[in-house]
């Protein structure tokens, strides 16, 4: 039995133990313990993250004459680390105070923990898949596990999760078609046979397979135009579940893209494919899709008034950076894209946990109904501040490093428009996350929030741990870059030479250790200057310049709604809901075709439906 078997069996054991205790109060502890154990086993597999050869599972069997292979390489390990980290943090958060609150609302924390454990298990299985058949099976399992987690809250969640599963099924059909083509051409579903055959295939076939596989993965990832399900479905998922889904779940799509596009087909082949009548290659087209995936969802996030929706939309947008970095195919850019998976997962998790801590205390995530909570929930504020600095990609947090690498590679590859597009996305993120923290924690404290207290420790500790990771991996990005380099080597990308502080480059590198030290020295000097020059006198927030009026607590003057009025005056009419329109067109078209073909069959082949009915009746009778 290899360590990989131990990992998968521990995950399965966690699932069973969670199911066994699902109705008890202990379920959260059981699930957290199980996830902790899995993380421990994953640490034993750590050599993978530093370039050790892949580990194969002893659990292998045949299905339809196809051997199913389970194996872990550096890429699987990297994704598994993020998955288990996010799972553990969410599970711990969902235990204790939060679960009591959830139970009091008439929901079952047990099923939430079970759904989390199930998601983790299926994702670990997906990461282990060593051939197309197991990839497809695990992919379906992941889809249905996410569906379970999304649908738990019922009500509007059900509508959104059905939308998700519709998209996911369509994506899976597209993958199945690709699988059929691959099997037809190579006679096997092995990765090795695929890689051996891919060099002889024509440009058209490569394009077809790229698009068919890509569509399946793009649905999960929320790449334009398959993104419409994501924000709503995630936002309706119960707190810690959303943190988990937001942090890592959709990145399984990216895992698939890296596997098929980068490792199996090879980006070189995609660069060779020229789109007729344009000067673009297939790779360029995909990069432009990534660029639009950065910009449009980010500016949709800017308009959201619900903190959960806002962050969910950013999740879609940040996926674009990862894809763009990886598709750049350079050592620096692809390292940036891969690093951003880790960085974004930490940022998004801490932000969502902070938002749900606010929801826990105030009962709302509506950005127009909060404000001034800094004085009441300072630790949650710190968590959110670290998260927004990271998500916006501002030093000294880790998000800056990965985005810097993506920008820098677009610069040295000479892609000006994509560079500008990715910076436009970052600027939009800065605007939007400031609105998030301003409307929640700054400004006027509402009268009804006067008695609000800091979130309980069971919720604060996971947030603080994540905030610490965000800062540390920003201060010393080399820790994660070691793993990233191993992933690059595993999928056949050029490997980035790096240092503990970042990237050494004669024409402009990055050394975060020095930069962060100097930044904090600057803050220190500035603080000295500030506090050495006289005492300041704290005043109540209502003691405020109000243009000649006296302010009182019952007057609401927090500037929150329509926060960027000037900007919206300019760009407001650019939001047209074109994708929603497109979605409704496709849906109408599909339903029309379905009705039409049903009618066609009834008229042309009246015997067929009757025969089918007879078979069903006979089967039910017998």
């Amino acid at each position: 039995m290899s360590l990989l078997d131990a990992l998968l069996l521990t995950a399965l054991g966690t699932l069973i133990a969670t199911l066994a205790t699902v109705r008890t109060r202990w379920v959260g502890y059981v699930a957290s313990l199980g996830l902790g154990l899995q993380l421990l086993v994953l640490f034993l597999l750590a050599p993978l993250g530093y370039g050790a050869p892949a580990v194969t599972s002893g659990l292998a069997w045949d299905l339809f004459g196809q051997p199913l292979v389970l194996r872990y390489d550096a890429m699987s390990w990297y994704f598994a680390l993020i998955t288990l980290g996010a799972g553990l943090v969410s599970s711990v958060y969902a235990t204790g105070a939060w679960s009591d609150h959830y139970r009091a609302a008439g929901r079952s924390p047990g099923w939430l923990q079970f759904a989390l454990a199930l998601n983790v298990f299926t994702m670990l299985l997906l990461l282990a898949s060593g051939d197309f058949l197991s990839l497809f099976i695990a992919w379906e399992l992941v889809s249905w596990a996410s569906f379970l987690l999304m649908a738990l809250a019922a009500g509007p969640a059900l509508k959104w999760s059905l939308r998700y599963i519709t998209y996911a099924t369509a994506g899976a059909m597209s993958m199945l078609a690709a699988l059929g083509i691959v099997f037809h051409l190579t006679g096997s579903l092995n990765y090795a046979d695929f890689m051996a055959a891919v060099d002889q295939w024509s440009v058209g076939l490569i394009t077809l397979l790229t698009v068919l596989f890509g569509a399946g993965f793009a649905v999960k990832m929320g790449i334009l135009p398959f993104h419409l399900w994501q924000a709503g479905a995630y936002a309706e998922t119960p707190g810690p579940g959303m943190a988990f889904l937001g942090a890592i779940s959709s990145r399984m799509g990216l895992y698939g893209m890296m596997l098929v596009w980068v490792q199996l087909i090879g980006l070189i082949r995609l660069i060779e494919v020229h789109i007729p009548l344009t000067f673009l290659s297939l790779r360029d087209v995909l990069m432009w899709i990534a660029a639009f995936t950065i910009i449009l969802p980010t500016y949709t996030a800017l308009k959201q008034n619900d903190a959960r929706r806002l962050l969910a939309w950013h999740g879609i947008g940040q996926g674009g950076y990862m894809l763009m970095g990886i598709l750049s195919a350079s050592a620096l850019g692809s390292a940036g894209g891969i690093l951003h998976i880790f960085n974004y997962a930490t940022n998004q998790a801490v932000l969502l946990l902070a938002v749900f801590a606010v929801v826990y205390r105030t009962g709302t995530a509506d950005l127009n109904k909060l404000g001034g909570l800094f004085t009441r929930m300072p630790l949650t504020f710190v968590a959110m501040l670290v998260g927004i600095i990271g998500l916006a990609g501002i030093p000294p947090m880790n998000g800056f490093v990965s985005k810097w690498m993506v920008y820098r590679s677009l610069l040295s590859e000479g892609m000006p428009l994509l560079f500008v597009a990715s910076v436009i996305g970052t600027l939009g993120t800065i605007l939007s996350v400031y609105k998030l923290i301003h409307n929640t924690f700054l400004g006027q404290l509402r009268l009804e929030h006067e008695p609000v207290q800091e979130a309980p420790w069971s919720m604060v500790i996971p947030m603080m741990v994540l905030a610490l990771i965000i800062f540390l991996t920003g201060f010393m990005p080399g820790i994660v870059l070691d793993w990233v380099a191993a992933v690059q080597a595993a999928v056949g990308l050029p490997v980035l030479p790096h240092t503990l502080g970042g990237v050494a480059d004669a024409h402009g590198g990055l050394d975060m250790i020095m930069l962060v030290l100097v930044l904090f020295a600057g803050f220190g000097v500035s603080a000295l200057l500030f506090y050495a020059t006289g005492r300041s006198e704290p005043v109540h927030q209502l003691d405020n310049y109000a243009g000649g009026h006296f302010l009182s607590a019952d007057v609401r003057y927090h500037y929150s709604d329509h926060f960027y009025a000037g900007l919206m005056h300019r760009i407001g009419h650019w939001y047209r809901g074109s994708f929603l329109w497109f979605e409704s067109v496709v849906a109408s078209l599909a339903s029309f075709l379905a009705q039409w073909s049903a009618t066609f069959y009834r008229l042309m082949q009246p015997a067929l439906p009757m025969l089918a009915m007879a078979v069903i009746v006979l089967w039910m009778v017998s």
């Binding site: 700054l442 930069l515 803050f523 927030q541 000037g566």
Partner: protein
């Protein structure tokens, strides 16, 4: 670079920046005065103002974050100055180039935004909303300029750009369109007329400064010194070949700041949405054309 020299640079560069920034503020006021046919302030007025602000007896704090915001605003600039090479001092310019500097310059803005938000004055929040929108306006042409220049010199390292320009001629002559777009973006970045609606210095009740007094205002004054200096040095580094020695360097950076000031004080003001339209049209067009010339 040996460690002692580097540490000396990191300590000296912000001090130099502050002193030069004070002179720039003085120059700004003198230009305004001359254009408005006034005498203008005496030589030491900027310094006197800062001392006055910091020694006020009434220092109103709206909470911890108000203080931290000001500390971040000044501290961020103190750190950022060590990324900007000046004659004889390279500081940390090899550890993080132009992209890093651009993002470092967002730290003071973020600090200010947090501090103002904590004051719970809607007029301050409106100011921040406008300031961030303005940033979205001028940063787009600015990053186009950054791309063009960095591509042209094949580096993001500012000291390398300077030595390349000193060998082959100023960037402004090689990339005139980008230099023009950069000047436009610079005008917005400094928050001077006609793009000063978010600072709103003339009607203090509707800008970010509404709740700032005493050393809080003093901190912002210090920040302004750094801001002017950074804008001048950055533009000089990108387009005017940096400085071979301090004399020509100082002439260049003061000239760079003086030009926008002269324009500024003869112009009225644009609304936020008009600023967006203006910034996204002409400088972006010029910048993209400039990139096309540089690359092809």
């Amino acid at each position: 670079m040996e460690i002692g020299k580097r540490i000396a640079d990191i300590i000296l560069m912000p001090i130099v920046a502050f002193v030069i920034g004070l002179f720039m503020v003085l120059m700004l006021r003198k230009i305004a005065a001359k254009l408005q046919r006034r005498v203008g302030p005496p030589f030491f007025q900027p310094l006197i103002d800062i001392i006055k602000f910091y020694s006020k007896t009434t220092q109103v704090s709206h909470g911890l974050l108000h203080d931290i915001g000001i500390i971040m605003a000044v501290g961020g600039y103190l750190a950022a100055e060590s990324l900007l090479p000046v004659p004889g001092m390279d500081g940390l310019s090899d550890k993080g180039g132009i992209i890093t500097l651009t993002y470092f310059l967002m730290i003071p803005s973020l600090g200010l935004a947090l501090g103002v938000g904590q004051c719970a004055n809607p007029n301050g929040s409106i100011g921040i909303s406008r300031a961030l929108t303005a940033m979205l306006a001028y940063d787009i042409p600015f990053v186009i300029v950054i791309f063009g220049v960095a591509w042209h010199y094949g580096t993001t390292d500012l000291s390398e750009m300077i030595s390349l320009q000193q060998a082959q001629g100023w960037g402004a002559f090689e990339m005139p369109l980008l230099a023009l777009a950069g000047l436009f973006a610079l005008q917005g970045m400094m928050g001077k007329q006609p793009f000063e609606i978010y600072v709103a210095p003339a009607e203090i009740a509707t800008g970010p400064m509404v709740e700032m007094g005493g050393k809080y205002m003093g901190g912002l004054f210090v920040m302004q010194c750094f801001q002017l200096y950074t804008a001048g040095v950055l533009y000089t580094t990108l387009f005017l070949g940096g400085g071979t020695h301090w004399l020509d360097f100082l002439i260049k950076i003061f000239a760079v700041v003086a030009i926008p000031m002269m324009i500024a004080f003869t112009f009225p003001r644009y609304r936020t949405e008009d600023m967006l339209r203006l910034m996204w049209k002409w400088p972006v067009l010029a910048g993209l054309l400039g990139i096309a010339f540089v690359m092809y």
